[in-house]
Symmetry: C2
Subunit: 367 residues, 2 copies
């Protein structure tokens, strides 16, 4: 253990004693959450420490200095890892970590569970916003939205110029198949949006450890008047889908789940949409696939290597790949909902109230 | 009448005599329609003259020289006007004009009707493709798709960055209202696509000369489980809509139907989508409205002044306006369908068969 680390532990213990004396738990907000949400923390029973900026992330140094003795910490996806160092530095007062995100790959769940620290996250509230962007990217990928707007208006109209495959059912293709890698809330909300486009079939791949849910699938098919909803292998999904949506969580198991082998099996007229996490798609393989025409186009809201992405990233350079800057949940309403939920998770977790959305850590760690 | 014009008439009359002698009607195709469609014209009963290029429009000179004595002419929207000069030059043999478009503002219907020349066009086949792009632009306009992709990745993630209004229903806005200027096939296909986004109300403005269709509206509301479908004034439409779709035909009556007065009444969080014709929207007024925040954003597939658009166009310059190069119907399937239908309209019109889609000229002229 280094001297710095020892000093931090000491500071944590003395802060712990202070806090107990004052009986006013300290909470650390690692990002300013703006004028609509911050007033939630104006309460006499909390000692609130807030990083000053909404647009700039706090440094690791600031974070470790300030979380000593904290009972709760609110973090963002991009604000660094919640790991053993973080938790040791915070010390034994820590009761809750609240993340303003539905994903929690930046958080070491096992370390949290071992210390009996709760985790709050923000599911559901962002489902519709991300499903909206999934549809937008499926359309942008098929219609070459990036390429056309780049070369136009230096290019006059002609009958077959800029033509791409049609997302909706048409006189040539009367059936349409959507494929989902991961079939949770966002995937199902995306599927619902595809129905009036004339989609007739749904394929999905699930967590290999989980049992198929044929009753749910039959019910989905009935509700949406689909000819079929089927859990299939990744190979069958790649071969059968007109559009593939990547909507699985990020984990070592899902890293590069879309790789050369997958992309080579896709229809030449199909498109790939990634609104989950950049790590699920092998960027070099997708760039090669787009250049060589293994599939028609791609639309991605997430890029491998985030948040350190430059214009030299193979997918950012690729004209047949529409790239958005991780704005899946970026609507005013949804981000306000996420920030509010993260704040309420933090406050309830610290004050022993019921958290609006607490992750079941034991189930996740044992999975 | 000029000497040139006299010479053309003479040429038309002699071509008429020739054609009658040979009894093989001449058809002129003003654009090459590609390897999938051109074989439709490989038939012994037609004398086919084709402009050589798919990507480049023929000149007016080539067109007038070649249509002399033609029984049918196939044209595109951007290939110049079908007016008295065109029809006089073609001469009395002309039986049909076939346009590969659903719009016919480039064609003088009255002059056609007076000469008893039929008009073929391509409705229905492009409805779904244009509805797809209407949804894509509604999403792109709300999510700042143009602005975000322009400034990123030189701009890190933060909780409220890039946020726009959410298209789908959400915890803050549980009702969503779509407004349609023009409520024909494409508008209704667009409305259907909005239902799983949680839309609850539909407003539309119709041709002032036509009677309201309350039975149809009640049926639409019932089918889509909407709380209301109502024909309203333009003012009410502007004030009440979360997204306004411009989907009326181009005519002197609809020119600049979206003007300063309309835009000033829109919600500050609403978006405007134009997938009809550029002339329906006052470009300067929309650019001003976007700069001054009268509405949130716009997405347009059509630009006033097409096909002569430069990067200096006020809307092409405007970061809050997503601009596409008139690709509403540009899917491989739909453009093939349109070209095939235009070819079949031409052949049937010339050979006295039943045209797949003939415009009722008398009804349109009397409207």
């Amino acid at each position: 253990m280094s001297v710095e680390s020892l000093a931090r532990r000491l500071s944590a213990i003395s802060a712990h004693l202070d806090t107990n004396t004052m009986s006013r738990p300290k909470v650390v907000i690692a990002r300013h959450l703006g004028p609509d949400v911050m007033p939630l923390f104006n309460r006499p029973d909390l000692d609130v420490v807030t990083w000053h900026s909404e647009t700039e992330a706090c440094s690791r140094k600031w974070l470790l200095e300030n979380i000593c003795g904290a009972a709760g910490v609110l973090v963002m996806l991009g604000d660094g890892k919640v790991d053993a160092e973080f938790l040791d530095t915070a010390g034994p007062n820590l009761r809750v970590v609240s993340t303003m995100s539905v994903g929690y790959e930046h958080i070491n769940l096992k370390e949290l569970a071992q210390r009996n620290v709760k985790l709050g996250y923000t599911p559901d509230v962002l489902t519709d916003a991300v499903a909206d962007v999934s549809i937008m990217l499926a359309l942008m990928a098929g219609r070459n939205a990036r390429e056309t707007t780049t070369i136009w208006p230096n290019c006059p109209w002609s009958p077959f110029q800029f033509c791409g495959p049609q997302l909706s059912a048409n006189w040539i293709h009367q059936t349409r198949t959507a494929g989902f890698i991961g079939f949770g809330r966002i995937a199902q909300a995306t599927l619902a949006r595809l129905i009036p486009f004339g989609f007739t079939h749904c394929l999905y791949s699930g967590n290999p450890g989980s049992a198929p849910n044929t009753a749910r699938d039959a019910e989905l098919a009935r509700t949406h008047k689909l000819q079929s909803v089927r859990r299939v292998t990744l190979d069958e999904l790649a071969r059968g889908s007109d559009v593939v949506f990547v909507l699985a969580p990020s984990s070592p198991d899902t890293r590069h789940i879309v790789n050369e082998g997958f992309l080579k099996q896709m229809k030449k007229t199909a498109v790939l949409v990634n609104t989950a996490r950049g790590t699920l798609v092998d960027s070099d393989a997708l760039a090669k696939a787009l250049r060589e025409g293994w599939l028609w186009g791609a639309g991605i809201d997430v890029v491998e290597g985030e948040p350190n992405v430059t214009t030299e990233h193979p997918l950012v350079k690729e004209p047949r790949c529409a790239v958005l800057p991780h704005i899946g949940s970026a609507t005013t309403e949804t981000r306000l909902g996420m920030a509010t939920m993260a704040a309420k998770n933090l406050i309830a977790g610290v004050l022993d109230g019921e958290m609006p959305a607490e992750l079941n850590l034991i189930r996740e760690v044992l999975r």
